[in-house]
C-alpha cells in the first residue's frame, strides 16, 4: 500500500531524510524507530503529502503523493505529532468537521463519528471543548479523526506519546487490531512497543535506515540493538551500522 523509493528531504544544508526505501503492505504494522531528530516525522510528513520530497517518490495505494495528492490523501488517516486539533471545537464538532472534509455527510457521517467515538472511548467527552481535555483524551480525539473514514493506510506519528500506561496499552491494542486489515506505519522511540504491536520494525538514524526486520530478526534485547545502531544526539559513541 505504501511504497517509498529513495526518499530524501533537505532543509537548507541539513539532510533530514537521506535516501530511504521501504514498502508497507496491507496487514502489516511497521514500527518506525529512531532517536529524536532522526527523520521519522519528516518521513511521515512526506508520506502524507505535507512536505514535498526533495528527491525520490512516495506512492500510496498506487497514487503518487506529489502527482495525485488528493487520491493518495483519501486513502490515508494521519495522526500528526503532538496530536494537533482545533482546540476551540468540541470533540463532536471536530470529528464531524473531519468527516465532512473526507466527503461524508448525513447518515454515513453520523455512523462514522459514532464508530470512531466508540473505538477511541470518547463518549464521555463528546460535548467537551478540546482545550479542556486531558492529554490522553486529546490524543485519542486526534486518533479518532484519523480513523473516521476507515482509511486503508494509517500513518501515526508517536501515537502513544504522553499517554499513561493504561492508555498506552489500549492504543497499542487498537493499532494491532487495525493492522489486521490496514497498512499501518507508526513512529515511536519506545522499544517495548515494537514487541507489543509491530509485525516489522525499521530503525532509522540520521535520515538513513540502519536496520529492519521483525522484532525477532533484529535481535534481543532490543534496546541494546537500538543503542548499537544509533548515535546518541550527544554524539560521543560511534556506532557500527551493521545490518543484523
Amino acid at each position: 500500500m505504501i511504497k517509498i523509493e529513495n526518499l530524501a528531504k533537505s532543509f537548507g544544508a541539513t539532510r533530514a531524510v537521506d535516501g530511504i526505501s521501504f514498502t508497507v503492505e496491507r496487514g502489516e504494522v511497521v514500527g518506525f524507530l529512531g532517536p529524536n531528530g532522526s527523520g521519522k516525522s519528516t518521513t511521515m510528513r512526506m508520506i502524507t503529502g505535507y512536505y514535498p520530497p526533495t528527491s525520490g517518490s512516495v506512492s500510496v495505494g498506487g497514487h503518487d503523493v506529489v502527482e495525485s495528492p488528493l487520491e493518495a490523501k483519501r486513502l490515508i488517516g494521519y495522526l500528526p505529532e503532538n496530536a494537533a486539533a482545533y482546540t476551540d471545537m468540541t470533540v463532536r464538532g471536530f470529528l464531524e468537521f473531519a468527516a465532512e472534509l473526507r466527503g461524508l455527510s448525513g447518515g454515513s457521517k453520523r455512523r462514522a463519528v459514532a464508530r470512531a467515538v466508540e473505538r477511541c472511548f470518547l463518549a464521555s467527552v463528546l460535548h467537551q471543548s478540546i482545550d479542556t481535555l486531558s492529554k490522553g483524551f486529546r490524543h485519542r480525539t486526534c486518533l479518532a479523526q484519523a480513523l473516521i473514514h476507515e482509511p486503508e493506510v494509517l500513518v501515526l506519528d508517536e501515537p502513544t506519546d504522553g499517554l499513561d500506561p493504561n492508555q498506552k496499552h489500549e492504543v497499542r491494542n487498537l493499532i494491532k487490531e487495525l493492522g489486521r486489515t490496514k497498512a499501518v506505519v507508526f513512529s515511536t522511540h519506545i522499544l517495548e512497543e515494537v514487541d507489543a504491536a509491530c509485525t516489522r520494525a525499521i530503525i532509522i538514524d540520521r535520515g538513513k535506515i540502519v536496520a529492519q526486520g521483525t522484532p525477532d530478526e533484529l535481535g534481543r534485547p532490543l534496546d541494546e540493538v537500538f543503542r548499537r545502531l544509533t548515535i546518541p544526539d550527544t554524539g560521543i559513541a560511534a556506532p557500527d551500522t551493521v545490518k543484523p
Binding site: Y78, Y86, M89, E100, R102
Partner: protein, 241 residues
C-alpha cells in the same frame, strides 16, 4: 465547492464560538457610530447622504480588518493544525477560499448591522438609496481587499501580532498612495502621470467612486485583482511552508 463550504462553516463557527466576533462587532459599531455622528458631523451637514459614514471606512478597516484576519493562518501554524488541514484530501485553494469567504461573510454581517444609519438618513430626509447601496458594495469590497492582504501576511508567520502589523502597514500603503495630503506632497517633484499611477494603486481613489454612487467596472476590477493577487500570494507562501 463542498470542501470550501465545510471549511468556511468551521471558520465562522470559530469566530462566533470565541469572544473575537462579539468584541469586534461591538467595537466596530461603536466606532462607526462615533465617526459618523460625532466626528463626521452627520447632522450638522444638513444633507441626506451617508458620506460621513463611508468616508471613514478606509481608516476604520485599517485596524479592524487585520484584527479579524490575523489569526486565519498564523493560528493554524502555531497550533500545528495546518498539518492536519493540508493532509486532508482538499486542495490548498479550497482551504484558502474557505477561510477568506468565512471572514468576508463575517465582515459583511458587521457591515449589515450598521443599518440604523441608513434608517436614520431615510427618516430624516430622502437620500439616494441607490447611492447608499453602491457605498455599501464598495465598503464590502474594500474590506475584502484588506482581508485578502491580511490572509497573505497571516500565512507568512506563526505570530499573530507580526501578521497584524505587517497587514496594517500594507493596507496603510494602499490608502496613502491616493490620500490627498500625500499626493499633494508629490505635486512639487513628480509629473501628474506618475502621481496618477501611484494613486491608481490606492483603495481610496477606487472607493470614492462607489461613495458617489458609481459602480465602475474598473473599480470592481481593481478590488477583485487586489483580492485575487493577495490570495494567490497566500497560496505561494503556504506551498513554501
Amino acid at each position: 465547492m463542498r470542501s470550501i463550504l465545510v471549511i468556511a462553516k468551521r471558520e465562522l463557527g470559530s469566530f462566533f464560538g470565541s469572544p473575537v466576533a462579539y468584541v469586534f462587532l461591538v467595537i466596530f459599531l461603536l466606532l462607526t457610530g462615533f465617526f459618523t455622528f460625532t466626528a463626521g458631523q452627520f447632522f450638522e451637514r444638513g444633507e441626506a447622504s451617508l458620506g460621513a459614514f463611508f468616508g471613514w471606512h478606509p481608516w476604520l478597516y485599517l485596524v479592524l480588518v487585520p484584527a479579524v484576519g490575523m489569526r486565519l493562518w498564523a493560528e493554524e501554524r502555531r497550533s500545528g493544525t495546518l498539518e492536519l488541514l493540508m493532509t486532508m484530501p482538499i486542495t490548498p485553494w479550497q482551504a484558502i477560499l474557505g477561510k477568506f469567504l468565512a471572514s468576508w461573510i463575517f465582515l459583511g454581517i458587521a457591515l449589515a448591522l450598521t443599518f440604523p444609519v441608513v434608517v436614520t438618513a431615510n427618516v430624516l430626509g430622502s437620500p439616494d438609496n441607490g447611492m447608499i447601496f453602491a457605498g455599501y458594495l464598495g465598503s464590502l469590497f474594500l474590506a475584502g481587499a484588506y482581508l485578502a492582504v491580511t490572509c497573505m501576511t497571516s500565512a507568512m508567520t506563526r505570530n499573530q501580532v507580526v501578521a497584524f502589523i505587517l497587514s496594517v502597514v500594507a493596507c496603510l500603503f494602499l490608502i496613502l498612495a491616493g490620500f490627498n495630503p500625500v499626493t499633494d506632497l508629490m505635486v512639487r517633484w513628480a509629473s501628474p502621470a506618475f502621481i496618477d499611477t501611484v494613486a491608481a494603486f490606492s483603495v481610496v481613489s477606487h472607493f470614492d467612486g462607489f461613495q458617489k454612487g458609481v459602480i465602475d467596472s474598473r473599480d470592481l476590477a481593481y478590488f477583485l485583482s487586489v483580492i485575487g493577487f493577495s490570495l494567490f500570494a497566500t497560496s505561494i507562501v503556504l506551498r513554501n511552508r
